[in-house]
C-alpha cells in the first residue's frame, strides 16, 4: 500500500470513528429550541458571498468538491 493510500485510509477511518462518536451523542432538538441553529451565520454549506472564492480556489488548486457546490463544468480557466 502506497503512503498516500495509507494516509487516505487513516483519514477515512478517523472520520468514521469521529462521526460515530458524534452522532451517538445527539439529542433531539425541538423546533422552538432551534433559535441559535437557525441563525444566518450557522448555515451549513458555503454562503452566497463565498461563490467567487470557491470558484477561483477550484481553478488555482488541484482539489475541488465536497463543499456542496457544482463539481465540474463551465470554465476554460485561463
Amino acid at each position: 500500500m502506497s503512503i498516500t493510500k495509507k494516509k487516505g485510509y487513516i483519514v477515512s477511518v478517523a472520520l468514521a470513528a469521529f462521526a460515530a462518536t458524534l452522532l451517538g451523542s445527539c439529542t433531539t432538538v425541538k423546533e422552538y429550541q432551534k433559535n441559535k441553529l437557525n441563525d444566518g451565520e450557522m448555515t451549513l454549506g458555503s454562503r452566497k458571498i463565498e461563490k467567487a472564492e470557491n470558484s477561483f480556489q477550484s481553478y488555482r488548486e488541484g482539489a475541488s468538491g465536497a463543499n456542496g457546490g457544482k463539481t465540474g463544468g463551465g470554465c476554460g480557466c485561463n
Binding site: T4, K7, G8, V11, S12, L15, F18, A19, L22, L23, S25, C26, T27, T28, V29, E31, Q33, K34, K36, L37, D39, G40, E41, M42, T43, L44, G45, R47, K48, I49, E50, K51, A52, E53, S55, F56, Q57, Y59, R60, E61, G62, A63, S64, G65, A66, N67, G68, K70, T71, G72, G73, G74, C75, G76, C77, N78
Partner: protein
C-alpha cells in the same frame, strides 16, 4: 305531530348544515398557491492575481489576471394543492476577465482567446418539499459559455429528513457536457507563421476544432443537529471526468527545448470527502469549521481546513475573520519548465497541479437590521468580505466580494 316536529328539525338541520361555512382554518396555515417572491441575492466580486508560473508559457511567465464577477439569484416559491412547497431558483452569472498570459497564446490576435473575455452562466433549479414526509426532490439545468469553452449541465437530487427532523440525508447526481475549443499556441497552429485568419483579421470560435469533456458526479451528504448549539455535516463526492482534460493552449517545453501541448490522461476519478461543524459559543461567537480530504487517480492528494469565527457585535451586525489552509501533492504528470522528456506519456507544467501549500485569510462584515439596511425595508442584508491568498510557489491574489440580499 311528533313526526312533523322531527321532520322540521331534520329539514332545518339539513339546510343549516348545507349553508353553513366550513370551520375557519388557522390563518397561520395559509400557504400561497401563487408563485411568490422569496428572496434575491446580488453577489459581485473583484479578483486579481499575479505570479510567475503561467501554464500558457510552459510554467514560466506572468500569471497576471483580473476578474469581475456578478451573479443575480432569484428565489420564488409556491404551494400546491397537496401542500407541497415548490421552490424555483433562477440564477444568471457574468464574468469579465483580463488575462496577461492568454496574450501569449497568439500575441498577434489578442482579442480572441482571451486577453479580454467574458463568461455567461445561467442556471435554473426546481425543488419540491413535502414537509409532512420531510422529503425533497429537485432538478436543475445550467449553461456556461465563453470564447473557448461551452458547458451544458443537468442535475437531480433527493433529500429525506429523519423522523425527529434533526438529520437530513441528501443524494445528488449531476452531469456536465462540455466542449473545449482547440486553440493551440500560435507556434503549433497549422500554417505557422503564415496562419490564415478571418476576413477581419481575427479568428472566430468556428475557426477552431473542439473536443468534448464530460463530467459525471454523485454527491452524498448527511447533516445532523447534535444539540441546541452544534450541527455537523458529512459530504462525499465521486466525480468521473472523461474527454480532453488538459487545455490546448498550455505549453510544455521538454528538456530538449522542443515545444508540446499539455497532454493528460482522458479520464480522471476524483474523490473528495468533507466534514463541517458549526458551533454557537455563548451568545456572540459562532465557530464555523470545514475539513476536506481529496484524492484522485492522477496522484493528487490534498487536505483543506477552513475556520471562520463570526462575532456578533449586535444581533444585526457581525464581523467574520477567516482562515483557510490547503496543502496538495503534485499530479504524477507534472514537471517544471524544460524537465519533461519524450519518454513521458503525459506531461503538464501547470503549477495549479504541482505540489504546494496555500493560505487564504481575511475578514468580512454582515449587516442585517430588522428595518432593512440603510432603512430600505427590501434590502434585508449586506455583506462585504475581503481575502488574501498566497501559494508557496509565489502566486498571490486578492478578492473582495459584496452580497446584497433583497426580501
Amino acid at each position: 305531530m311528533k313526526k312533523i316536529c322531527l321532520s322540521v328539525v331534520g329539514i332545518f338541520l339539513t339546510l343549516f348544515s348545507a349553508f353553513a361555512q366550513p370551520a375557519a382554518k388557522d390563518s397561520s396555515e395559509y400557504k400561497s398557491r401563487k408563485l411568490t417572491f422569496e428572496e434575491a441575492n446580488l453577489v459581485s466580486s473583484y479578483y486579481r492575481q499575479d505570479g510567475n508560473n503561467s501554464a500558457v508559457t510552459g510554467g514560466i511567465g506572468t500569471e497576471k489576471l483580473t476578474d469581475i464577477a456578478s451573479v443575480i439569484d432569484v428565489k420564488l416559491n409556491k404551494w400546491d394543492a397537496r401542500n407541497r412547497k415548490h421552490s424555483f431558483d433562477v440564477e444568471v452569472g457574468y464574468d469579465h476577465y483580463t488575462s496577461a498570459s492568454s496574450d501569449k497564446i497568439d500575441p498577434r490576435n489578442i482579442s480572441s482567446a482571451s486577453h479580454v473575455d467574458s463568461r455567461l452562466y445561467p442556471s435554473v433549479n426546481w425543488s419540491m418539499e413535502n414537509q409532512k414526509k420531510g422529503s425533497t426532490i429537485g432538478a436543475g439545468v445550467s449553461f456556461s459559455n465563453e470564447f473557448d469553452y461551452t458547458s451544458y449541465g443537468a442535475n437531480v437530487m433527493f433529500a429525506q429528513k429523519t423522523k425527529n427532523r434533526n438529520g437530513e440525508f441528501t443524494a445528488k447526481a449531476a452531469v456536465f457536457l462540455d466542449k473545449v475549443s482547440l486553440i493551440l499556441p500560435i507556434e503549433l497552429q497549422p500554417g505557422y507563421p503564415n496562419n490564415v485568419r478571418g476576413e477581419d483579421g481575427e479568428r472566430s470560435k468556428g475557426d477552431y476544432g473542439s473536443s468534448a469533456r464530460n463530467s459525471y458526479s454523485g454527491t452524498l451528504s448527511y447533516s445532523q443537529i447534535v444539540n441546541q448549539r452544534l450541527q455537523v455535516e458529512f459530504l462525499m463526492d465521486v466525480i468521473y471526468q472523461t474527454g480532453f482534460l488538459g487545455l490546448p493552449f498550455h505549453r510544455v517545453y521538454f528538456a530538449d527545448n522542443s515545444l508540446h501541448v499539455e497532454t493528460l490522461p482522458d479520464t480522471r476519478l476524483k474523490i473528495p470527502i468533507g466534514f463541517r461543524a458549526n458551533y454557537f459559543l455563548g451568545d456572540k461567537f459562532i465557530i464555523r469549521t470545514y475539513y476536506r480530504y481529496y484524492h484522485d487517480d492522477w496522484g493528487l492528494s490534498a487536505h483543506t481546513i477552513n475556520i471562520e469565527t463570526p462575532y456578533k457585535i449586535t444581533p444585526f451586525f457581525s464581523i467574520t475573520p477567516f482562515f483557510r489552509y490547503n496543502t496538495q501533492t503534485a499530479i504524477d504528470y507534472f514537471a517544471p519548465y524544460k524537465v519533461h522528456t519524450a519518454a513521458d506519456p503525459f506531461y503538464s507544467s501547470n503549477y495549479d497541479l504541482s505540489k504546494f501549500s496555500s493560505n487564504f485569510y481575511g475578514a468580512g462584515f454582515r449587516i442585517a437590521p430588522p428595518k432593512g439596511v440603510f432603512g430600505i425595508q427590501r434590502l434585508n442584508m449586506l455583506e462585504v468580505r475581503y481575502g488574501h491568498y498566497t501559494k508557496t510557489n509565489g502566486m498571490k491574489s486578492d478578492i473582495i466580494s459584496l452580497n446584497l440580499k433583497f426580501k
